[in-house]
Subunit: 366 residues, 4 copies
Amino acid sequence: MAYARVETVGILTAGGDCPGLNAVLRAFVRTSARTATWKILGIPDGYEGLVNDAPFRTLDGDAVRGILPRGGTILGTSNRCNPFAVRHTVDGELTVTDESEKAVAKLRAHDVDVLVVVGGDGSLGVGLQLQRQYSIPVVGIPKTIDNDLSSTDITFGFDTAVATATDALDKLHSTAESHHRVMILEVMGRNAGWIALESGLAGGADIIVIPEIPFRVERIAEAILERGRRGIHFSMLVAAEGARPVGGEPILAQRVGPDGYPRLGGIGAWLVEQLSQHVGYEVRATVLGHLQRGGSPSPFDRVLASRLGAHAALLVGAGDFGKMVGVRGLEIVPVPIEHAVGVQKLVPPCGERVMTARHLGIAFGD
Amino acid sequence: MAYARVETVGILTAGGDCPGLNAVLRAFVRTSARTATWKILGIPDGYEGLVNDAPFRTLDGDAVRGILPRGGTILGTSNRCNPFAVRHTVDGELTVTDESEKAVAKLRAHDVDVLVVVGGDGSLGVGLQLQRQYSIPVVGIPKTIDNDLSSTDITFGFDTAVATATDALDKLHSTAESHHRVMILEVMGRNAGWIALESGLAGGADIIVIPEIPFRVERIAEAILERGRRGIHFSMLVAAEGARPVGGEPILAQRVGPDGYPRLGGIGAWLVEQLSQHVGYEVRATVLGHLQRGGSPSPFDRVLASRLGAHAALLVGAGDFGKMVGVRGLEIVPVPIEHAVGVQKLVPPCGERVMTARHLGIAFGD
Amino acid sequence: MAYARVETVGILTAGGDCPGLNAVLRAFVRTSARTATWKILGIPDGYEGLVNDAPFRTLDGDAVRGILPRGGTILGTSNRCNPFAVRHTVDGELTVTDESEKAVAKLRAHDVDVLVVVGGDGSLGVGLQLQRQYSIPVVGIPKTIDNDLSSTDITFGFDTAVATATDALDKLHSTAESHHRVMILEVMGRNAGWIALESGLAGGADIIVIPEIPFRVERIAEAILERGRRGIHFSMLVAAEGARPVGGEPILAQRVGPDGYPRLGGIGAWLVEQLSQHVGYEVRATVLGHLQRGGSPSPFDRVLASRLGAHAALLVGAGDFGKMVGVRGLEIVPVPIEHAVGVQKLVPPCGERVMTARHLGIAFGD
Amino acid sequence: MAYARVETVGILTAGGDCPGLNAVLRAFVRTSARTATWKILGIPDGYEGLVNDAPFRTLDGDAVRGILPRGGTILGTSNRCNPFAVRHTVDGELTVTDESEKAVAKLRAHDVDVLVVVGGDGSLGVGLQLQRQYSIPVVGIPKTIDNDLSSTDITFGFDTAVATATDALDKLHSTAESHHRVMILEVMGRNAGWIALESGLAGGADIIVIPEIPFRVERIAEAILERGRRGIHFSMLVAAEGARPVGGEPILAQRVGPDGYPRLGGIGAWLVEQLSQHVGYEVRATVLGHLQRGGSPSPFDRVLASRLGAHAALLVGAGDFGKMVGVRGLEIVPVPIEHAVGVQKLVPPCGERVMTARHLGIAFGD
């Protein structure tokens, strides 16, 4: 495909909210204005905007003015919508239908030549499938606050999420100390413990539990009691939501309501119950939840998101499709989407960061 | 008692953590150094330090250096310890004993002439009882993040708690909008809705539910749907933990575990369940919890706490006992503790702030 | 005038930028929508919008959506434009002309029944003059980050400015200590020292110099050296820009460039020069400048500005003209504008806040 | 030298303050405690502590408790002290003497086996010289907020400095817009424009001037006027202090007082003068100054500083002297100090970041 043919680019933001999405959109629009001639159409609400009737809107310089420091996405987004497997509930029964033809028809009706997908593992995979099955050229921009995408050193949103979690730890610290308590902060991370590990390092946690390193409650309790023997009668614990005991399921999986939403308390509440039986201190949990996805992106994330958005426009201009923009060291590099999807980047249990944490005296409960 | 006789002052911080406690201690110590000759003894862990064997420590200028911007309390604190009714659990059975004589003996053993209590309603009441029953002169400094103490316009810690809640609302706002969700923020306030009301006003909430104005779920749902009819497909709701439906108990009371800790979800989780049945949007709750009690105090709270600490020293110097330092308009005034305790300052349902909120379009679900 | 006749309200924001202006506008518009039927016209760029050709714009609910947390003013503003004395420079020569008739004609051409002025001392005075001379009913909303307006306990914007200055002090503190330096922070306050005093209290300053308490350099140096004798080899000094030595002019007045802008260094730079000759420590100054006027308003300021904006709408509805909305204790009250203008609220040199500061060990150099 | 012999390690922090120094010290001490047996001596006030009589202090776990989130350095620091060329002023005359023997004698008197230097280019070079000339084994930890050290991808302190500058831009933005002004923010960077470039990208600057890309005032003015023609009557400009016009000296160099301190206004004030003659807008400058060096380190800097401190301890343990710990991609690597000193890492004028900035519409005035 000759890239000179690109006249219209469609762009969507898919999946969970992530600080920096607006910076990506602004950079893509501004770079396109300076390096290309195509028109840009914003697709509302992620992939949902491809399978429903919501209108596309033109994204020009005015549309992206002033959005750099704002959280959220001006395009809207949706979770878990996949045009190849759209879920409908009719009369209480769930049906799954392939509506990819409808999605592609909508793209073609708007003369969309290239589709830019800002999304995580799943959303990028859907984009790749659209390219393979329907020859819609796709360019990806990786997005996850969990930082668990392979083929890129880091993703935007992560630094902001870590900052929110670290701020929470700073806040909880003085209360823990004043009340001689064990304070637990539950953070995001179903499969990967990056947010827990990084915020735990930054916030001076004493114990970190992550999915990659199964824990034993007794070992956690022992770390708390050992501090007590040294005269320090409080402890800070950061728990990734997907952490699990040795030989057991993630607590998350045991505590999910029928609609998939963890109503009844996750790892934080579970650890309160368990640890209260092993240590003589009060144990309290705070679940950070959605706060990690919101707020003005950190300067680091604003710059990273801007660089990725700008480079995605250059990829479109170069006709280099089926790629996403990734970070390698100080560089932005194109990466085949197929190398990025399907393989999660987990915390290496014996990697440098975990070893540094251990050197600092942080226990992992293993 | 001639106030010239004061040679030793004991000071304690009691009850839940509250940003500004350290600023109070610093101001009390510094003002004492400039206006008096007494020695100051810090009593550890609130009233617990009176009934156990923990040593008192001398508080001088060095002890309070650098603590102004720090959360927590360098003295430590404890919840619900009352020397007149100390709770012990022996063999699984709870016994309550009056240990006030022991407490007074410890004060006398340290030659404490005056006791300064930094605490809430309950702790100030205990101080008053010590004065009445044992002739220990007491001066009080009111402390509650809930701002529900009568006889003072405002309490330190409240402004910081509101700032934390407002920051959370700012963070949740963009996610709510991007995902077309109803976002609920559950904040502190078992009996009084001040934090919910003030942060709701500051954070641009659409709906606020507080204990003082019982709500109907249908009315809340109607406010959300009405916004939808105007094309605004998200809503922000702030709920005080003690909010309750018309004619019902507070949700809090229905959801407390046997140890008094709300394990199973409070008003936030309850509203998620209820509202999900009435509106077509996803509903999500975030429980702010202990984050509201921590962190560096806001400038407002640092100044207020400093003023109160300084004035408490002046009250001790003036021999004006049985009083606490209160705020009236721009002034710091002495207030008889007996006027302050036992009467909570609730949000007036038809007061100016609620009316302003209604004028701004905020619904209360009533 | 019967207030039932109000069909069109014009509103303008005048004078220097101030956090909370947008919150005022939002509250005025929203309260009007719920309590009245008038149309609201936004006048651009303060009084300049009355004497030039810029169009008015309708302010409705959509126009004020999402602006609560934003600094600045969506209407724009201008400094020192007075329709009764408009300054023009023609061929390098300054002429001053009365263009008030033109301003009134523009208001009348738009059928403006009532003019709402959000502004400081000067701007409110202009409003009052318009009412008196041309019978344009005026309602005022006081605005100044300096907090120096009489007839109101506090003004919005002040809390945010103090927070910015306090944050700067927190940042400078550790550098001062690590480098054994005297760090000076120059803050706003040409005539009144409120920002310096409040941020100095909140930020743990050792010395505060304000216009109301003339200082002697030797006394300031002595306070610094005294700390050194106690083993503390750094000091934090907050200086209001209008501070002046005993018997002298404000430094500000001596250092202003021909265009009124302090190019060559104000009190901060002057104190660096002077103190360097008296103490053996390095002395460094930071000028906070415009940073104090910007940023998202603090929760306190958002609520205060919202309350004032809402009450101004009620005043218009009540036909209570020639008044501004003021704060007295916990209440919002109408105050005759003539009582508010022309009299500055200065820091009482022997008032409670200054005495508290002295009790805390803060020197004023007097 | 057999590394098993290390019994005492001396550590100092040298040069300008930098957020993260305390995190480095904490990590070095904690990692040493877990991986080695040596005693650690803290040397006060950088290299000054080697040539004066100030006592060393033992650094153990207690000494570094609670310092992770704090700015500054608990060891103190000093600027420009070099034991090989100590400057004394006697009777108004400057003499420079080599006191390196005295420094080494002091180290030997304390049985210091290894010296760990946390410092910038100059301080690391002094360390290397001590090793070469006196066989004092040295390990370096690079420190500069300017991020201009070669042989490492990034330095701690930079992210925090950029956050402070970005926050300032966010604050100035709304005032610029409300007042139709050109707002200039002067940030650090005498030789390298990293802070200006990164904060300009993050803060949505319209114009960035840096030392590496000489500017023409006319080109800057043209960028401002071009915005005006598009209806945008304000502009944000970030200037590195060392920026210079095409063919000219840095403004900094022309404006420095006899003591090396820029009293009379640097690039910011100069641009106000110059631009005021070319554009019809008000132009205002803010000099961020020391605020960039202070404050609690960002989470990113806390983690980075902790990793470097931990790895420096491992280097000491491995006997790998003459090296500093550097960052390459996601790794911490040892780098010969001689490769790092003497070569500054400047912003590549045609590198990816500058090109991204241009794509975003940012002008560099060239």
